[in-house]
């Protein structure tokens, strides 16, 4: 019987990923549907989160930071375009005293700041948000930078997140999550008396291969 090489390759990849998953520690993100499906985000490696505007990625990252700071982790957010909203984080019950916010203006400042943080150690989460940096500029970042960040957090308890509008980190990331446009949820019938209630968010894991989509709803607090 001829060897089904495709099936064999898939089996080997899944076995390797399972072994890595068992050895690696994960940080829950505070969204039960996601944590049940994927256990959270991995420590000591790079997680890439990307999606267009209003896809729910910032909601996801904010919830993750809130959960991490709430359990005593010290987190750092490198904000590439100074667009972080502290009120949103506070609404998610983040402990803002455990969050170091670096407000950058441009990718050069963002990359330098990230380099300093990942090499200083002691962080539970380091998140680099390049969502609002023009894609043409982010594409010019050499891959060696991403590998440098990955090496810096390997074998440390730091979960390193890169948040973007398009995927740039690619092979360097251990987990890649794609967020799709989340349609808003309105309440109220009359067109003049509607209220924004939330949005339905879908997370499609591109890595690990074979993981199922995760759907959850985010709400707008009154």
């Amino acid at each position: 019987m001829p060897l089904d090489r495709t099936a064999l390759a898939r089996h080997l990849v899944e076995e390797t990923q399972l072994r890595q998953k068992l050895e690696r520690e994960y940080l829950p993100c505070g969204i039960s549907a996601f944590d049940e499906a994927l256990d959270g985000l991995p420590r000591g490696s790079v997680t890439e989160i990307y999606g267009p505007a209003t896809s729910g990625k910032t909601t996801f990252v904010t919830s993750f930071l809130a959960r991490a700071t709430g359990t005593g982790e010290f987190c750092a957010l490198v904000d590439g375009s100074d667009s972080f909203d502290p009120a949103s984080a506070a609404a998610a019950q983040a402990d803002l005293k455990r969050l170091l916010w670096i407000r950058c203006h441009g990718i050069e400042q963002a990359l330098k700041s990230t380099d300093l943080l990942v090499h200083s150690g002691g962080w539970g989460v380091v998140a680099l948000d390049l969502t609002d940096v023009p894609p043409a500029i982010v594409r010019k970042v050499p891959m060696s930078w991403w590998y440098r960040f990955r090496r810096a957090v390997e074998n440390t308890p730091t979960a390193f997140l890169v948040v973007e509008s398009e995927p740039y980190v690619k092979n360097c990331a251990m987990m890649t999550l794609e967020f799709r446009s989340a349609p808003p949820v309105w309440s109220g019938r009359h067109r003049n008396f509607k209220v924004l209630r939330g949005s339905d968010i879908r997370v499609t894991p591109r890595k690990p291969v074979g993981a199922k989509n995760v759907d959850f709803r985010a709400k707008v607090l009154a």
Binding site: G30, I31, S32, P52, A53, T54, G56, T58, T59, V61, T62, S63, A66, R67, T69, G70, G72, E73, F74, D82, S83, F84, D85, P86, S88, A89, A91, Q93, D95, L96, K97, R98, L99, L100, W101, R103, C104, H105, Q109, S113, L116, L117, S120, G122, W123, G124, T131, P157, S181, P184, W186, G188, N192, K194, L196, S199, F216, A218, K219, V220
Partner: protein, 424 residues
Amino acid sequence: MYACLYVRNATAAERAALLRCAESFSPAVEPGGEAVTVDVRGLRTLMGSPRDIAMRMAAGLQTAGLRGNVAVAPNPHAAVAAARGMDGITVIAPGDEARALARLPLALLNPSEELAETLQSWGIRTFGDLSRLPAIGLAERLGAEGVRLHALSRGLSPGPLIPLQEAPVFEASMDIEHGLDSLEPLAFLLGRLLNEVCSKLVHHGLAATDVTVRLALEDAPEHVRTLRLPFASTDTGTLLKLLQYDLAAHPPEAPILRVAVEAEPSAQRRLQGGLFLPVAPEAEKLELTLARLSAVVGEENVGSPELLNTHRPDAFRMTRFVAKADAPISVQTAVVSPPPVAIRLFRPPLPAEVTVSNGTPQRVRARGIRGDVIGYAGPWRTSGDWWRSDSWSRDEWDLALNTGALYRVFLDLPDRWFVGGNYD
């Protein structure tokens, strides 16, 4: 031998003069308000016998314009009791304390009110009366205080002299012959001075929380920079690097003629780690990282956000980030389920052109944003601080565009439109 100088009912000025008089005889002085005790054990070769010493001290009091008593005794307590209870000069020989103090009134021992009443009722009036009572019987009836007073009545000392010590000053300075106009050579001088100051701190079992650098400049006011640390440290390397970053961000405006370094002492840091606490950045490393980050993005752009108690949109201030490893809050209270929708803000808000029809927005154009409105909620009026020059008043809308994006758009009354943020 110990001497006591006593001035009854001394004013504040007289007490200061009394202390100065005592310090002129010996550096080992214990101040006590109206009575100052001096260790005179080393004065025999200089001044002679205990009586000679007492007479010299009495003359010193007179010279200082003070009228008081002087007593010399084998221990500090006996000297104080004798000076308080006996006028003029008193010298008590070793072994003669009980007899010399026998006639002094019990009030000089400062017994508690209850004990004084009890002793009074027993007919005990003087040191001698108390010292003749059996110690065991006193212990059984009056407890530990009775035993203490019994020992004092016999002229026995409760403890050694606690001399007044001048607070050590931790500073070092250096004059520069030719004005220094760059920071690189300054670093070498700072390193030397910091080494000197930190060595002194370590010698006293202390560490520094604040380090101040004063630079005297040529034809310019003094340039002062203070490093305030969230932890006490004597690590010269870390302190030097932090000072270098600070001076690079706030350089002096003229050549430097003198460098001085002062440290504010504090108890040394004691750390008790926990096995089950989350990892935290190391204090020294964190300070250096924060200094480096400040050099990259500016000091005002690094820190923890703190929300202000106001309804003003986007009201917060940046505070200093300190990694305190406190106990974390409960996981249950840390999770909000379902998660709240977060917004990404545009700072500053993007000026926009909004086409309005029948009072509702139909189309939005701004930098990087263009689309037709397919869903909306609003307007909501928000305003505040009307009494201030920076008051605000706006109508806010949540607008869903045909591009799939959802924006917070507001009309800054009366007629300027902005895109405030993007729900994501």
